[in-house]
């Protein structure tokens, strides 16, 4: 943590757009991802998946499959541990029901694994999968969350399970219920001059990291289970796999090579990881299991679909007197992240408008669709769509400009946020730049003077804004440790268990360590790829890495710097605090200087004292979670003759505290905004009446491509977060939140049509213009 007296040593390369430490491999094709190693001797894994949305497996006959030449193992629910767990990637016990096994006897969505095969060749594995004979007792299925709570709905998890969440009613498919009230809601509505209520719906989308989920598992020469796999949480993956198979933690090793994106899907321990582990344990051989893209799209966790009802009381002067947000979250077949995503959906966006009387109610509900999970934004995408759309409706109800209404109610530094008690940030927000962010995007289009309206009858232009707030880690949960060693040539080795899946966290850790010593980034090597080589870290989720692991890295580096100064003070008989660490040198008060390398080498040789290897460790645990903020503004042109529309501009202003790597931060903002744009206008995974996915593969899943881009502007509105490493907060998630409501608000501004269910499509806009409900 940067305390005021050492804040002065905050120097380059912190704050510089240095190239990524892993960049050379990425642009030359030399980077090695999970599957980029020879596996010709590995067994090929293949998975039999359920064709039914809800069925009990009556019998499985694997005899024919096992008799196929080359087949080494066929595993079914009868062959895997009986214990149940959650794949939810939090430290044990995660806030989610223990409601699944490696292979389940009852399958609960189309695409759920039924059996796993390992064979000498992929062809034999495929033939074996085809030869497995399963008799299913097909049950009634339900896909809609509201329908799933009806008395006549099938109960999806009738058997008791451990780690039941608050408010659960498994009989009615309710995984958990949440309620958080402050003030007196009814009194707040009484005080209001207008009360506005509306329901908003969000769709199912998928992370679609470009590298599909993959695992290679083997038993090493010390008889330990080793996985090389696409994960963003290597330590949690190790822990969860060890628990599932009842192994010592030390008998499991997880290697995280380069990983091709994550966005939350790899926060969970994935079916490919459990199944590859099970097959390796069964056969004693190396097993390679790689999803096809269509399997990844159909059967990997998704973003939870949510219905968000917002009811707001407002006075004529624009003061919000009460807000009630009610969320129903469809968690699909398993309760993965059911509670935390639900909770986050309302807490983050509601924090933007700290009114005295506020209530959040909600529930997560089982259905027979692919399980929801953690995805960039983590519930706040859904809640922000509802609330930020609704704020415009509220403004309209009292005839006020929507930006004015936001400014009137906006959260300020020193305010309380709306979040659970376990967060100390609840009581005080230190760095809050959201007002500046809003001003910047408004200035970009001259909002206050009335932005440009092209003189065109047919194409109507609309402007819409949305604000958002995210987090920097899960308060009172995240824990990171970092080890830093000063090598005898003056370079630093940082060992930290972060999960860089492309976002640049290894680079940020290198910058932080280098910044403490005044070194360049090339003099720092970050090792983060192996649970054998790194201390515990929760990994990459909840926008925690820069803040939590960054603080651990900064502390370790500062501790090491103290050791260096103390030893030098002894050796040269000068006061420790008079020694400067600059550009890889130790500068003494006399003006003499000595390179860090020479100093470290002499210390190790033992000149003037015992032999020393200079190494330090830092750890960070925090009950705080400082909030990054964003304002996003969309400019949309709508064709009034067809309902077709074009997003012509998306302006983004983001408060992430100090940007440790401005170009990297800009990349996070743009990447998030474009993912949010896809959520807003094109992406949707749907199932038919039987629960079968309606898309064949990536070709049917509409992501944003380069020619679809609007003009994108990004402003980093820097604030200083006093508890962050060098003043930093997070930046990975906040910009994915605003595009959907900003675009819906812009469409409303253009043609007076409120689209309250995502994605916003020309057909819905057209129907709205035609006056259809």
């Amino acid at each position: 943590m940067t305390s005021p007296d050492n804040a002065a040593d905050a120097h380059a390369p912190v704050g510089e757009s240095v190239e990524k430490v892993d960049g050379w491999g990425l642009v030359t094709g030399n980077a090695r991802y999970t599957d980029d190693v020879p596996t010709e001797n590995a067994l090929a894994g293949h998975v039999l998946r359920s064709p039914h949305a809800h069925a009990r497996i009556e019998s499985i006959d694997t005899d024919t499959a096992e008799a196929i030449p080359g087949v080494r193992a066929v595993l079914t629910h009868e062959d895997v541990p009986a214990g149940r767990f959650t794949r939810t990637g939090f430290p044990y016990p995660a806030p989610a029901p223990f409601d699944e096994r490696v292979l389940n006897e009852t399958v609960r969505f189309v695409g759920e694994p039924v059996a796993a095969v390992a064979a000498r060749t992929p062809e034999a594995a495929e033939r074996a999968v085809d030869a497995i004979d399963v008799e299913y007792d097909v049950r009634k299925a339900v896909f809609d969350a509201d329908a799933a709570m009806e008395p006549d709905a099938p109960t999806i998890h009738p058997d008791e399970y451990e780690n039941e969440q608050d408010g659960a009613d498994p009989e009615r498919n309710v995984v958990c219920a949440a309620r958080h009230e402050e003030g007196d809601l009814e009194a707040g509505f009484e005080e209001a001059d207008a009360v506005v209520e509306r329901e908003y719906e969000t769709q199912v989308v998928q992370h679609l990291p470009l590298e599909v989920n993959t695992a290679i598992a083997w038993i090493d020469e010390r008889e330990r289970l080793t996985l090389r796999t696409t994960t963003q949480v290597s330590h949690i993956c190790r822990d969860t796999i060890a628990r599932a198979f009842d192994l010592n933690r030390t008998d499991v090793r997880v290697i995280k090579p380069r990983v091709g994106g994550g966005f939350g899907v790899r926060q969970d321990v994935l079916p490919v990881q459990f199944l590859a582990a099970a097959l390796a344990l069964e056969t004693g051989e190396k097993v390679r299991l790689r999803n096809e893209r269509s399997e990844d799209l159909h059967a990997s966790q998704t973003r939870h679909a949510q219905d968000v009802t917002v009811k707001t009381g407002v006075r004529d002067d624009g003061t919000i007197t009460a807000m009630h947000v009610d969320v129903t979250s469809n968690t699909g077949a398993y309760g993965c992240h059911g509670f935390a995503v639900l909770s986050n959906a309302a807490h983050e966006p509601m924090s933007l408008y700290p009114c005295e009387n506020r209530l959040f109610t909600g529930r997560a509900v089982y259905t027979n669709v692919t399980p929801g999970g953690a995805m960039r934004g983590y519930g706040a995408v859904q809640g922000t769509f509802g609330i930020e759309s609704h704020v415009d409706e509220v403004a309209d109800a009292i005839g006020m400009d929507p930006v004015e209404l936001r400014r009137h109610n906006l959260v300020q530094a020193g305010d309380e946020s709306f979040e659970p008690e376990f967060s100390e940030s609840k009581r005080r927000l230190e760095s809050v730049g959201v007002g500046d962010c809003l001003d910047r995007v408004c200035d970009a289009v001259d909002w206050d003077d009335g932005p440009d309206e092209p003189d065109d009858e047919r194409y109507q232009r609309g402007y819409g804004v949305a604000l958002s707030m995210a987090k920097s880690g899960v308060p009172s949960s995240e824990f990171a440790r970092a080890h830093v060693t000063l090598e005898t040539d003056g370079t630093l080795t940082v060992r930290v268990g972060i999960g860089d899946t492309g976002q640049g966290s290894e680079t940020v850790m290198a910058q932080i360590a280098a910044g403490v010593f005044g070194l360049d980034v090339d003099s720092v090597h970050v090792t983060a790829d192996d649970t054998d080589a790194t201390p515990w870290d929760n990994g990459a989720y909840a926008s925690s890495t820069t803040y939590v692991s960054g603080n651990a890295t900064e502390k370790a580096a500062r501790d090491l710097a103290v050791q260096v100064r103390d030893l030098a003070a002894e050796r040269f008989d000068v006061p420790a605090d008079a020694i400067e660490l600059v550009e890889g040198d130790l500068r003494l008060p006399s003006g003499e200087s000595l390179s860090l390398g020479q100093f470290a080498e002499e210390a190790f040789i033992g000149e003037g004292g015992p032999k020393r290897r200079l190494t330090a460790s830092g750890r960070h645990f925090t009950a705080l979670s400082p909030k990054p903020f964003a304002a996003q503004l969309a400019v949309v042109d709508v064709d009034t003759e067809t309902g077709e529309f074009e997003v012509v501009r998306l302006a983004n202003a983001v408060d992430c505290g100090t940007a440790i790597n401005p170009e990297g931060a800009r990349g996070q903002v743009i990447g998030g905004a474009v993912m949010g744009l896809g959520q807003a206008v094109s992406e949707e995974l749907s199932v038919d009446a039987e629960g079968v996915p309606e898309h064949r593969g990536l070709r049917d899943y509409e992501v944003i491509h380069a020619p679809d881009l609007p003009d994108l502007d990004v402003e980093l509105v820097e604030t200083h977060e006093p508890t962050g490493p060098f003043g930093a907060k997070s930046v990975g998630e906040v910009s994915v939140l605003g595009p959907a409501p900003a675009i819906a608000n812009a469409v409303r501004d253009a043609v007076g049509v409120r689209i309250d269910d995502l994605p916003v499509t020309p057909a819905k806009v057209w129907a709205g213009m035609e006056g259809e409900p």
């Binding site: 030359t28 991802y33 492309g502 170009e663 990297g664 990349g667 380069a706 020619p707």
Partner: protein, 170 residues
């Protein structure tokens, strides 16, 4: 998808100038044969011809290696992202600009994006942003939102244009 080249299940190609014999006896796609030969820089992002991460040049044509039977490439000159490096393994201007602009996040799409960009710069030395975006229309990048990639390609084009005569097709 049986190879119908009549040979004994192998295909002779040059990959980035080096003669290579690829196995193709089981009807492999070009990406399978290349990766089996150790060319892991050719990435498989979708297996269905829509993400562009498997892009290579075959005799100068932009080619989806996941859709192309290896048997159809006999005698071809194949360029992967590694073919952009110069003889001393120095980075191509495109690669340098991608680093400079933070245009590679996870990097998984990058071999395919760079090959598409390289192909564009073979045809035009001064592309507009719209032309660059168009050249990337067959690539999915889930991390960057493309903007820094477009900037990087534009700056690489400017640099190469200034540094005439442009390096010629290998």
């Amino acid at each position: 998808m049986d190879g119908n080249d009549g040979s004994a299940g192998t295909v002779s190609v040059r990959v980035n100038g080096e003669p290579v014999t690829l196995a193709a006896e089981r009807g492999e796609t070009l990406i399978e044969s290349l990766r089996n030969a150790g060319h892991y820089e050719v990435k498989n992002g979708c297996d269905e011809g829509v993400c562009g991460s498997c892009n290579v040049l075959c005799d100068g044509e932009l080619t989806r290696a996941c859709l192309t039977p290896a048997s159809r490439c006999d005698g071809a000159d194949v360029t992967t992202v590694k073919g952009l490096l110069d003889d001393d393994n120095g980075l191509h201007a495109l690669q340098e600009e991608f680093l400079e602009h933070g245009a590679a996040q996870c990097g998984f799409c990058i071999p395919g994006v760079l090959v598409a960009a390289y192909h564009l710069l073979q045809r035009t030395t001064d592309p507009s942003d719209a032309e660059i975006a168009d050249a990337l229309s067959g690539n999915v990048c889930r991390c960057t939102g493309y903007a820094q990639q477009i900037e990087a390609i534009r700056d690489a084009a400017t640099r190469l244009d200034r540094a005439e005569p442009m390096e010629v097709e290998r």
